[in-house]
């Protein structure tokens, strides 16, 4: 027995990089997979609240009602046992591929989010960002850019006029809003001087205006924040930008031929992407896992007397993760609130908002902030 433990410890010690990487990926995956069921429940309950209904509050777990938290589980079981159906006129290969593309890209994208600062295990410092490239959040952008193919493929392969229109709309919409999205984040890149989210978050742990405000991106460039949040809605195909689905005119758009688990895979991917973009907003504009006025380094220093040196980083990271999730939850709430409050844009309005208002505004914002930052750097 002693020998086994020794072997395991030795293995962990020599392969700490690999084990840590797998652990981080697994953690991010667990979070991403939990987002969909919880959000389904939140969405239904909040919709009911807004519409003065009760909503699903019956299905419980182990005899406890728990405000209907068992509902997602019941829904999943129902969807799993539905008939797995491929329409006759569809292009079978791409019909099956489309929901998988959406779900996989959603699950891969979330790996670019820094879940916490770093933990120290056995003398090894582990950066808690699963995918840590030099190109930083461009990775998230790349994944979000690939996300359109799930929708476009679904629309095309269903071989249905409504679905095709939905896919066409989605591809035009995403490509239009991606430009404004990139331009909204550009000022943050030159304000912080980095593309790396961890460095950005570290820069946001300082305070602004003699300690009154935390040094968050939202205070440094509020216009960027507003544009980014708007484009985030468009990129994830959520109301008021869900032209690709548009129940009223396109029945369900690209989803019209889908059912059972394939249909829910689209939602898994969509919710994972919503979470990823919300977490990106949090990291760039709201200080990520940092508590306002109390940086992670200070937190670790504060916790070290209570726990010992290494567990203190674990506890600090856990607190950081909770803070990140709490901040992200604000945006998830916003997504649902907007869905049941705002009417859908017309297609020409959507294009006008993207190209005529958001793009020039983002460009002016970039130029003005570039001038300010340049002057501040010179002095």
């Amino acid at each position: 027995m002693e020998g086994t433990v020794g072997v395991v410890t030795q293995f962990l010690d020599s392969n700490i990089g690999l084990v840590a990487a797998l652990g981080k990926i697994a953690l991010a995956l667990v979070i991403a997979l939990q987002v969909a069921p919880i959000m389904v429940w939140v969405e239904r309950r909040q919709a009911a609240f807004i519409q003065r209904r009760i909503g699903p509050n019956r299905v419980g777990l182990f005899g406890f009602k728990l405000f209907g938290l068992g509902q997602p589980l019941a829904d999943t079981i129902k969807l799993l046992f539905k008939e797995d159906f491929v329409p006759k006129q569809a292009n079978k290969f791409f019909y099956i591929l489309a929901p998988i593309v959406t779900a996989v890209i959603g699950l891969v994208a979330i790996q670019g989010i820094p879940l916490a600062k770093e933990i120290v295990v056995g003398g090894h410092t582990i950066n808690m960002q699963p995918v840590n490239l030099n190109a930083g959040f461009l990775y998230l952008f790349a994944m979000s850019a690939l996300g359109v193919y799930g929708v476009a493929l679904a629309g095309w392969s269903s071989n249905n006029k409504y679905a095709l229109l939905g896919g066409l709309r989605a591809s035009a919409q995403m490509i239009s809003y991606e430009i404004a999205m990139g331009l909204a984040l550009l000022p943050m890149v030159f304000i912080y001087g980095t593309l790396d989210l961890q460095t950005m978050i570290a820069a946001q742990s300082d305070s602004l205006l003699f300690g009154v405000l935390p040094n968050w991106g939202i205070f440094l460039s509020p216009i960027s924040f507003v544009i980014f949040v708007i484009t985030m809605f468009a990129e994830t195909n959520r109301l008021p930008f869900d032209l690709a689905e548009g129940e009223a005119e396109l029945v369900a758009g690209f989803l019209v031929e889908y059912g059972s688990m394939r249909w829910s895979l689209f939602f898994l991917g969509e919710y994972a992407m919503m979470f990823t973009l919300s977490a990106l907003t949090t990291c760039v504009f709201l200080g990520g896992y940092e508590i306002p006025w109390l940086s992670q380094t200070e937190l670790v220093a504060l916790l070290t007397p209570i726990f010992s040196a290494e567990p203190a980083t674990w506890v600090a990271s856990l607190i950081g993760l909770t803070v990140l999730l709490a901040k992200t939850a604000i945006f998830m709430f916003l997504f649902v609130q907007a869905r049941f409050t705002l009417p859908r844009f017309r297609y020409d309005q959507l294009m006008r908002v993207g190209w005529v208002y958001l793009l020039p505004l983002a460009l002016v914002n970039v130029v003005v902030l570039a001038l300010i930052v340049g002057i501040m750097r010179l002095t």
Binding site: N134, A142, L146, W156, A172, I175
Partner: protein, 189 residues
């Protein structure tokens, strides 16, 4: 065997085979999808070559923008699958292609590699080492994005500006081409 090496070779083989698959597709959309897979694989290869910015740009610009436009047009036209008809290549063209292949093989073999290394050394480059004139400009080796930015906006500033004008011209050109037609169609309808 190095894990990076195996991954690189597998990705390269997959990209080559998939591009072969691509040019034999009957549906345009299938071809576009296979091409996106090829581009993603190439982005992975760029990543292994430590060109992180190139990898990200490859996916964002190529797979995320250019190919979306391709797919959009394919879906808009909604063409029936094409009957594959090979041929139409004359003997003269065949000879030219073979010559090109021959030159490429010569360049690819040790002779060409020797020439390449020699040429590089005469210009002051040593394989795998940052040349002296570049050293002053470059940040640390792992700061790929900063290095790209420094090179692009110092050494290649005029090229960059010219390319931006090219893009502007292309945008205006495509709008003019597309707009004239749609206005006529609107009148006809």
């Amino acid at each position: 065997m190095d894990l990076n090496f195996i991954a690189f070779v597998v990705m390269g083989l997959a990209a080559t085979i998939l591009s072969g698959v691509m040019i034999t597709r009957r549906w345009p959309v299938s071809a576009a999808m296979v091409l996106i897979a090829v581009m993603t694989l190439l982005a992975g290869m760029f990543g292994l070559l430590e060109a992180h910015f190139a990898a990200a740009a490859q996916i964002i610009v190529y797979a995320g923008a250019i190919m979306v436009v391709f797919v959009f047009v394919m879906m808009l036209l909604n063409l029936p699958p094409e009957e594959l008809r090979y041929g139409g290549v004359t003997w003269g063209e065949m000879v030219l292609i073979s010559l090109g292949v021959l030159v490429a093989i010569v360049l690819g073999t040790q002779v060409g590699q020797g020439l390449l290394t020699q040429g590089l050394e005469s210009m002051g480059y040593a394989p795998g080492q940052t040349p002296a004139h570049a050293k002053s400009l470059y940040f640390a080796a792992d700061e790929n994005v900063k290095n790209v930015a420094a090179t692009m906006f110092v050494d290649y500033l005029w090229a960059f500006e010219l390319v931006s004008f090219l893009i502007l011209a292309a945008v205006i050109g495509s709008i003019v081409i597309a707009k004239k037609r749609s206005a006529e169609n609107a009148n006809a309808a």
